[in-house]
């Protein structure tokens, strides 16, 4: 079932350096909707239910609607199915008394799931929409059984409990890996065990999946009124516009909006273009559902869930010296040419200093033993991330602005030896400006503008002064600026290096406002007939992981199939 990745339209360097304009990057403009009336639309394809996206929401939605008798077309912008689910570890957080929980003696209930996800005293449950969570809780067991019936094989072991998710008492399930084939799994992650099983089931049941089709517009009877009638797509493989009529409903499952600068900065204006996104460059959190949904009158919901301390929305990179430092992209995989490099793990942050785009330290580098702010603003790494997002003060026309910008890990030749780093491709990405080497610190600072996001030159004297001051802290045995515990190593031996270490965006916790049936609501709170949304593009429910996506898709598929068939 693995797909051969089509030849890229642009080279790797162009793909990555294009930044905001790149195919897989954070496009500010997005797809501006053309105003085309329903009467003007020529339908090229037709199905009862049209699902946008083939990830952990889209495929369950499609299969469920098909099971209930609807004909289903799925459109997917990528060259393969699965979305973020494909790159996940396949850990499906479903509770409420699933058969797996029962077999391992774990007592749980739908009420328990509901209560844990509506706690007013927890950072990632306090703003959740009660109706949405109630629906989620009531469908956990059904959704688990649905996965099993559709070929998903779970590891038969006592399910895990994620300690960091302090709100939860039930334990999660783990899906068995599907394959060790890089192309089959995309990056040797167990998420393929979930997504390939669902793909196989969907195809076997007659769901049609159109790869490399990107939704460009949602067609409603009137621009801001009436039923949703279908979607317009662009065939990214050169097939032009494809309009697909949905006789019953459109279900938008486009995976959240972290990759979409225009949408993510609605929630948090600090999330500017420089931040990389987890699971890119395989799948984007495109924001298509949010943008196109808003264009036909849809409302956003529970936007406060996307504040900075939303625990899995932002993290320190696991891998530095490359653009995509959340997953370790493996050479030989189908998207490695876009990833550029695998990156390097930092075994001890005593070996590097982290500086902002102006060459200034801004926080204790050693903070962040677990990369995410699991406990929100109470977690030390939250303070690090909050500092990183506004670490630099730029003076423009006499006015000072506090901004984010790239974060660089700066180190010397001795540090590279201590860390046992191999400073070459495929471990670091020099070609695209995510890793630099220079004879002196001044030369290093001068080179950084080769990075597309280093918009302002790093003052060479500033970097030198920062390092000299830090080296003195090593002599003193104390960091008098940021309290790094016993700074241990000087940065002194040439060559000097700078590796991209900018924070990473991950989950989307806000999106189109939906009700408990996964129907999208407009800005007045009314249902938009025939329009559903599930997964990370649906607002109202901040819960990390596959469980929310799967259950939301299952609910949407169930209700979409019950919609009246349009004339």
């Amino acid at each position: 079932m693995g797909r051969k990745r089509p030849e890229a339209a642009v080279g790797r360097r162009a793909f990555i350096r294009n930044g905001a304009a790149g195919v897989g990057a954070t496009a500010l403009a997005g797809l501006a909707p053309r105003v085309v009336s329903a009467q003007e639309t020529t339908w090229h394809r037709e199905a009862d239910v049209v699902v946008v996206g083939s990830g952990a929401s889209g495929l369950p939605a499609a299969i469920r609607a098909r099971d209930l008798g609807a004909s289903v077309i799925v459109v997917e912008e990528n060259f393969d199915v699965g979305g973020h689910g494909m790159i996940s570890q396949g850990s499906v957080a479903l509770g409420g008394g699933t058969s797996m929980q029962q077999r391992h003696g774990i007592e749980d209930s739908a009420d328990q799931v509901y209560l844990e996800n509506t706690r007013p005293d927890h950072v990632h449950t306090r703003y959740n929409d009660r109706e949405v969570v109630r629906a989620f809780a009531d469908h956990n067991v059904e959704a688990f059984d649905f996965l099993v019936e559709n070929g998903v094989r779970f590891v038969d072991a006592r399910p895990h409990r994620v300690p960091a998710e302090g709100a939860f008492t039930f334990r999660r399930q783990t899906v068995a890996p599907w394959s060790q084939d890089l192309n089959e799994t995309i990056n040797n992650t167990a998420g393929s065990g979930l997504m390939r099983a669902l793909e196989r089931s969907a195809r076997a049941k007659g769901v049609e999946i159109l790869l490399q089709h990107r939704m460009t517009r949602i067609v409603r009877e009137e621009p801001l009124a009436g039923r949703v009638l279908g979607i317009a797509c662009t065939d990214l493989d050169g097939g032009g516009e494809v309009n697909i009529r949905a006789r019953q409903a459109v279900i938008a499952c486009t995976g959240g909006s972290s990759s979409n600068l225009a949408v993510r900065t609605i929630y948090n204006p600090l999330l500017t273009e420089e931040y990389q996104v987890g699971c890119e460059p395989y799948s984007r959190q495109s924001g298509d559902a949010e943008q196109q949904g808003m264009a036909i009158g849809g409302s956003l919901g529970a936007t406060n869930n996307m504040r900075t301390e939303s625990y899995l929305a932002l993290c320190k990179p696991l891998w530095i010296g490359c653009r995509y430092g959340y997953d370790r992209w493996k050479p030989g995989g189908p998207v490695f040419d876009k990833a550029g490099a695998s990156g390097m793990a930092v075994s001890d942050y005593q070996d590097v200093i982290l500086v902002n785009m102006l060459g200034e330290r801004f926080y204790d580098e050693t903070v962040g033993t677990h990369l995410f702010a699991m406990e929100g603003a109470h977690d030390p790494v939250f303070d690090y991330l909050a500092a990183a997002l506004s670490s630099a003060v730029l003076e423009v026309d006499g006015v000072r602005h506090r901004v984010g910008g790239p974060i660089w890990a700066v180190f010397d030749a001795d540090a590279a030896v201590r860390e046992e780093w191999e400073l070459r491709h495929p471990f670091v990405d020099s070609e695209n400006g995510y890793f630099f080497q220079a004879d002196t610190l001044e030369e290093l600072a001068g080179r950084l503008t080769e990075n597309a996001y280093q918009k302002h030159p790093m003052p060479p004297a500033a970097l030198r002064a920062t390092v000299a001051r830090y080296n003195t802290f090593v002599d003193l045995g104390e960091d008098r600026d940021f309290g790094k515990p016993e700074p241990r190593y000087k940065l002194q031996k040439p060559p000097f290096y700078a590796a991209w270490a900018t924070p990473i965006l991950h989950d989307t916790y806000a999106g189109l406002r939906v009700n408990g049936r996964s129907q999208v609501l407009d800005v007045f709170g009314a249902v938009i007939p025939g329009f559903y949304c599930a997964g990370e593009s649906a607002g109202g429910f901040a819960l990390h992981g596959l469980g929310r996506a799967i259950v939301g898709g299952y609910i949407a598929g169930t209700n979409a199939a019950e919609e009246p068939t349009g004339a």
Binding site: T174, D475, L476, K490, P495
Partner: protein, 316 residues
Amino acid sequence: MGPVHRIALSLPEPIPPEVAAGARLALRIHATCPHGCDLGGLPVDVAADGEVLAAGELVSGADSPAAAVELDVPAPAQVGEHAWSVGFPRHASGGAVHESSSLTLRFRTVPHAGSLAVWDVPSPTPATGPVHVKVGVRCAAGCALAGRRVEVRDEAGASVGGGTLGETPWPGTSALYWASVELPAPAAEGVHSRTAVLVGPDAGPPHEAAPATFTFRAGKAPAHRATVRVIDEGTRAPVAGVEVRIGRYMASTDEHGVAQVALPPGAFEVAIRKNGFRAEPVRVAVDGDVAVEIEAATCPTQAELNERFFEEYPWG
């Protein structure tokens, strides 16, 4: 006499106001006759104080009325204000006379930008005996700086050491020329500051580099020796390449798993570091030579831990 045409000379890319002394400038010169005459093959030159620095023949423009030539001209090696004259000599042909014409170019030559690095600064360093450091200089233009002098000055600005940059750049660098510099030990314990500077005399283009200030800690004179042996807890084999830290003092184990550190008397914590190994720190009291054996247990490397990060914690 036929009609007289006045030639217009121009540079499509103006000469920068500041140019590194001795740098070579590629001057693209355009010459245009307002009457559309083809100036291809006619000479132009660049001169200073009457001396021709470069000359060439114009080439007819394919898509432009201007004929053009690119001349490679060395900027003066001396720092200061300069004026060059682009000259087109009088020429008569086809019944027309092209008047001589000139264009004056004014610019300033500045020193080459350099930058310094100071490394292998021992810290703590004994309060007795000399301190050896390395000082390197890189020219932004990549000049070979062998033979240039560097100097190290104390907090009062007095020279306390110096050296001559060697012939070969520091390994791993492209053009960092370096010297080993011996410095006298400071008289007192504590953190001391020194400043390395690039000094003359300059043979060739002048260079300017911001001074590089560095610090080091002067400690008590070592009176004892600690011998630390690191072995693999499981195989009992010695572990080489382990960083051994005894307080602020550091050394690496050799192929026998042994590191030796000279220490003053005192109580210290002994810790090790090597990717893939771990051991709890131990405390030692040093009032004579001591020997410490550390059994290090193997553990996953950070890269391995990162790889397992998502597998062992079911994030999603």
